[in-house]
């Protein structure tokens, strides 16, 4: 039997196999190329943190370190405490920079840019965070909160400015009134100047009259001083009399002082003699008092006095009145 065979189908299986192999290799190359481009094939590890609110976070959100993209937000979930757990996937090659004192922050790229998670570089001595570790999350203020803060701070200043403006504009206020007063004062100053000019002209005429009055006054003073002579003589005589009577008086005072000194000396001697006896006398008096006290206590304990002496009561209060 003759077997008719087309040359094109010769080695067909081999050809198909080769074609499939090339196609598969090409597809693999494309996958590898895209994977490498999207960092899908780079080894990764996970870090997580917890925050009060999930606002601003999104799955796939970039995670950056010093401005470089090092990973992405892998998952966002609500935990049992109604807080939000955020899990990040980070390229393994950046692991050495992320330490136990590194912090994650939700920030915006620029004023109106996309939100990203920014991680700070840790200190040299701190421990490197491992797969599954928790990184510190630092809450940063959102644009709205910042704007509110500024508004709160600016509000009192604006209020004060408003008050100052209304104070300045108040027609009955100090400033408006002061300005009015200055205006009036300026006008009055001009009148005063005119009056001063008139006064200077008239004073020139009065100088002569004043000089004449001064001369009269000096003449009168001279006459009064002359009349003072006899009075001074009287004072002089009185001083002479006083000088005569003072020495005997001083002698008497001196004698009295002598007596006083002697009396004091005597008193001092008597005291010196008596003083050493005082403590002894005090001791004796104390003994006598104690003895009397003992006798009295003994008598108080004896019949029939015992029944009439109230017992020593320690529950004695200062009388307390409800009116006090």
């Amino acid at each position: 039997m003759i077997k008719e065979e087309d040359v094109r189908f010769k080695h067909l299986e081999k050809k198909i196999g080769l074609f499939a192999a090339v196609a598969i290799l090409g597809a693999l190359a494309v996958v590898l190329f895209i994977g490498a481009d999207k960092d899908l094939l780079t080894p990764k590890y996970k870090l997580k943190f917890t925050t009060e609110k999930g606002t601003g976070f999104a799955k796939g959100m970039p995670v950056k370190l010093s401005g470089f993209r090092i990973g992405r937000v892998k998952s966002i979930s609500l935990n049992e405490q109604a807080m939000v757990d955020i899990e990040m996937e980070i390229d393994k090659k950046y692991q050495k920079w992320i330490k136990s004192d590194s912090t994650a922050r939700l920030v915006k790229e620029g004023l109106v840019g996309d939100s990203i998670v920014e991680i700070s570089v840790g200190s040299a001595k701190a421990r490197v965070l491992k797969n599954g570790d928790t990184i510190n999350f630092e809450k940063s203020k959102g644009l709205e909160e910042v704007a509110n803060d500024i508004a709160e701070k600016v509000k009192p200043v604006l209020m004060e400015v408003k008050e100052i403006i209304s104070y300045v504009n108040d027609p009955n206020g100090d400033i408006k009134q002061s300005l009015g007063n200055i205006k009036v004062l300026t006008r009055q100053l001009q009148d005063t100047r005119e009056k001063v000019d008139e006064l200077l002209v008239s004073s020139r005429d009065n100088v002569g009259t004043v000089t004449k009055s001064s001369v009269d006054l000096l003449n009168n003073t001279n006459a009064k001083v002359s009349a003072l002579g006899p009075t001074l003589e009287k004072v002089d005589r009185s001083m002479t009399n006083l000088e005569k009577s003072l020495p005997p008086l001083l002698q008497k005072v001196d004698a009295s002082m002598d007596h006083l000194e002697k009396t004091t000396l005597q008193l001092q001697k008597t005291s010196e003699k008596a003083m050493p006896r005082v403590p002894k006398l005090m001791n004796k008096a104390e003994d006598v008092m104690e003895g009397a006290d003992t006798v009295m206590n003994a008598v108080k304990d004896m019949w029939p006095f015992k029944n009439h002496v109230p017992p020593a009561e320690q529950r004695q209060f200062v009388p307390g009145d409800s009116h006090e």
């Binding site: 015992k306 320690q314 529950r315 209060f317 009116h323």
Partner: protein, 322 residues
């Protein structure tokens, strides 16, 4: 004429008299131990215990004479001695007395410190607990801490013996009155009035009447108020209590002023001021002068009003200098 006794009979009489005296002395000596055996057998106190009690007694006497400093010194010594003897009851008594003297002297902080120490030491079942509660309540009222004052006044009322029940009830009534609980204050004051009359305690009776006067006055029952104040005044006059007399007169004046009888009010304020001033209470007298000045101003007598204000200033200055 009776015959003169012979010398023999006279010597016999003398001998008989001597024998009687000797016999009486012998009998007395024989009966003394028996008598002492029949008398009360009280526990003997040691000299330090007696000394601590004596310090306390001397403190009470000093306070009665108005010498607060000496009183505090004596109570302090009593406290120290009782502390050295581990006598808790004696310590509590001294602390209550220290608190009372300080409270009267206006040193509320020192009073609080003392009474708080006493409260820490006293057992609720103790006989002296009511007195501690009374003082704690009084100090709290002076410090204007009315809830605490009411709490302790209630404790004092519930534990006080008959002799102190009226005082504790009056205190509770005063606190309620200051808390503006007029009805409750009136009920307690009436209860205190009844208790004081039953136990024959004119001081507390007068206090209850004065308080009822205030309650009636604030409720605009002027007739009842005046009646209560006048009864209190009669009692306080018979007891010779100057501060209380002044308070009664002031209450009457306040009542007259509240119903617009200004002339009568002036007359009673003047009397209250005179009593306070002569009794040494210059601050109360100054308060009366202020009310008088206000009344004169109201009546259009401005010059008199100014004169009274000047008088008041002088009085306050004197009080401050003292």
């Amino acid at each position: 004429m009776s015959p003169l006794p012979s010398s023999g009979s006279s010597s016999r009489v003398t001998a008989m008299n001597n024998a009687r005296v000797i016999l009486s002395c012998v009998m007395l000596l024989l009966l003394a131990p028996i008598g002492s055996g029949c008398s009360r057998n009280l526990p003997r106190l040691s000299p330090p215990q007696l000394e601590a009690i004596n310090h306390n007694m001397r403190g009470i006497k000093a306070e009665a004479r108005g010498n607060h400093e000496l009183a505090l010194e004596e109570f302090g010594e009593s406290l120290r001695m009782n502390g050295a003897l581990d006598n808790t009851e004696g310590m509590i008594v001294a602390l209550v007395n220290i608190s009372r003297v300080n409270r009267r002297g206006g040193d509320t902080k020192a009073a609080q410190e003392a009474i708080d120490r006493a409260v820490e030491l006293v057992a609720p079942a103790s006989d002296i607990f009511p007195e501690v509660a009374f003082e704690k309540s009084s100090v709290a009222m002076q410090a204007n801490n009315l809830p605490v004052a009411q709490d302790w006044a209630l404790k004092a009322v519930s534990t006080a013996a008959d002799g102190r029940k009226a005082a504790a009830t009056n205190l509770l009534a005063r606190i309620l009155h200051r808390e503006r609980q007029s009805d409750a204050a009136r009920t307690q004051a009436e209860q205190a009035l009844s208790l004081s009359r039953t136990n024959n305690q004119p001081e507390e009776e007068a206090n209850a009447l004065r308080l009822l006067g205030s309650v009636h006055r604030e409720a605009k029952r002027a007739t009842e108020a005046l009646d209560a104040y006048r009864k209190a005044l009669d009692l306080d006059k018979s007891l010779g209590k100057s501060r209380q007399i002044a308070a009664d007169l002031r209450g009457i004046a306040d009542t007259y002023a509240s119903v617009g009888k200004d002339r009568d009010a002036v007359s009673f304020y003047r009397r209250a001021q005179s009593v306070s001033q002569n009794g040494g209470d210059r601050v109360a007298a100054a308060e009366d002068l202020l009310r008088l000045a206000q009344l004169h101003e109201k009546m259009g007598e401005k010059e008199r009003s100014l004169q009274l204000m000047e008088e008041r200033e002088t009085l306050l200055q004197q009080a401050h200098e003292r």
